[in-house]
Symmetry: C2
Amino acid sequence: MSNQDDTAKPGQWGPPYLLYLGNAPDDLAIKTARGLAYWRPHWCIGQHRRTGCKPTLGLREMGMAEAKAEGANTMVIGTANAGGVMGPEIVADIITALDAGLHVVAGLHQKLRENPDIVAAAQRNGRMLFDARDPAPGIPVGSGRPRDGHRLLTVGTDCSVGKMYTTLAIERALRRRNVKANFRATGQTGIFIAGSGVPIDAVVADFISGGIEWISPARFDGGWDLIEGQGSLFHPSYAGVSLGLLHGAQPDALVLCHEPTRPHMRGLPGYPLPDLQRCLAANLVAARLTNPAVKAIGVALNTSGIPAEQAEALCAQTSRLLGLPCQDPVTMGVESIVDNLLACFVN
Amino acid sequence: MSNQDDTAKPGQWGPPYLLYLGNAPDDLAIKTARGLAYWRPHWCIGQHRRTGCKPTLGLREMGMAEAKAEGANTMVIGTANAGGVMGPEIVADIITALDAGLHVVAGLHQKLRENPDIVAAAQRNGRMLFDARDPAPGIPVGSGRPRDGHRLLTVGTDCSVGKMYTTLAIERALRRRNVKANFRATGQTGIFIAGSGVPIDAVVADFISGGIEWISPARFDGGWDLIEGQGSLFHPSYAGVSLGLLHGAQPDALVLCHEPTRPHMRGLPGYPLPDLQRCLAANLVAARLTNPAVKAIGVALNTSGIPAEQAEALCAQTSRLLGLPCQDPVTMGVESIVDNLLACFVN
């Protein structure tokens, strides 16, 4: 489906959504559903929780048939068990949703299409299954060919430091200023929010940069493609993904994202976070391979772990250090970053 | 199977090999078979060509049944059609080989296991099929944890500049000096030569560095793992693979490989090759993330495109420029590179 249609095509998955929380044990387990409810609240008509599920999105509680009657088109599995595995309860609920006439989409490691009972239920009801971790077929190898259009990429000191939120905040701010802008998703939550994208960590290694070229083709309308970054050039497990993403994006503009209380690289005690200046410089050097004119235009800090006054001071200090506007997109917005973006790239 | 056993385990694929050239149109199409015949001549008892096949390895011509009678264990599909697709003639020949009692291995994009007639022939004969582009299941995410043992990695200015040949030449030179050394394969030809490995460009993007950690685990015998590099940090299509490989390898020693007549990055007119100093520096900087003690120990030039006298002069000049021994592994050997390796890493 196309990027950010507010209504799905007939017979296809898309909003309105019922968000399935199942028996998620904590807030971390409903990260995907929360992202969707935060960025696309008008698409989310309800939530479904099993008895004992503690976290909530504050949406109306609904059964599957009720959600369908209220206009829901698709149930989103917005929770993950340990290991991304579907337990028998989730499978039963998915079948109930399909029997109620909903499409079902998920971003689990274990695929919907690999469960024969789920596949049978989808077939007998003529409903779609969509696994957000399944890359679309036919992704090409990256060509490196310069292409038209403006592209911004969020890069990070680490995984999970706010790259998706920052990218979406910039999309919203640009649209409010009547600048054409499209979020280009590279992770499962982003794919549900955008309605399309490429799960870049799940493509075959040779196709990383090609996958990004594919989701952000040349554009000629003066608008911006805002590409969701992943990982970090300094993460020993995933840096290859980040570098291929950077090369495929051919970004004109980079925004550096950081979480200042992170004690070490995610999942890797013993690996400290890179210095912000060093991290930004490394991204700029690497990005110049496919776009020699790339510029850093801002820094986004996720300050959820520190008091508000300290957050303001830290942003001011970071801004002076790097010579770039610095904000927390969630608590402060991204207006100064967008000001700088538009000032740097006057059409 | 274990690395470089000279005999296969009973019932498993492995040498002795019959090399299948089919109706390969030119020398480039038999690259895999040529690498195998060059590096493991004692494993290759014959070649099989269809009428009209021009290129040859100079091995004895054999039918499949004859090869089996002469002791062959496995037929290696050492040729590729355009697009890596198997035509009906190749399929028929593979079935003949299986019916003759040979295992069959291939490194094509199109998989042996995806052809039902080939699968049926393997099953009725109790023979193995092995697709070298299929990563083994269960490859973990890279941990970045420092591990024991010495590792050398070949890195390059571009794809196809001689990284596999250089790595194998260093293995041979070290073994001649009674230093324990094992080639660790990351591409299809290397996997047939080693008898194991990981097709690193075919793993899912999140597992690039993990795949390399997996093929070169900690070792405690004072020996060297010699890891076959892929691609280049400066190739816009594949740099992500090269970076993940570099991080997963945790190399102690790097050898830079280069082909001095290459007009542009492979397949990408408009992308010049990087300067050797810049390329080596970028690899060292990136490698320090997982092994701060990494050292460059030599340069390998593929001088097949220039006259011999010029080749000697170019190696001398490159050696002065980078302050490292520089040789063409095929025409000059790698003794000075290995001298420097052993001098830098006295046990």
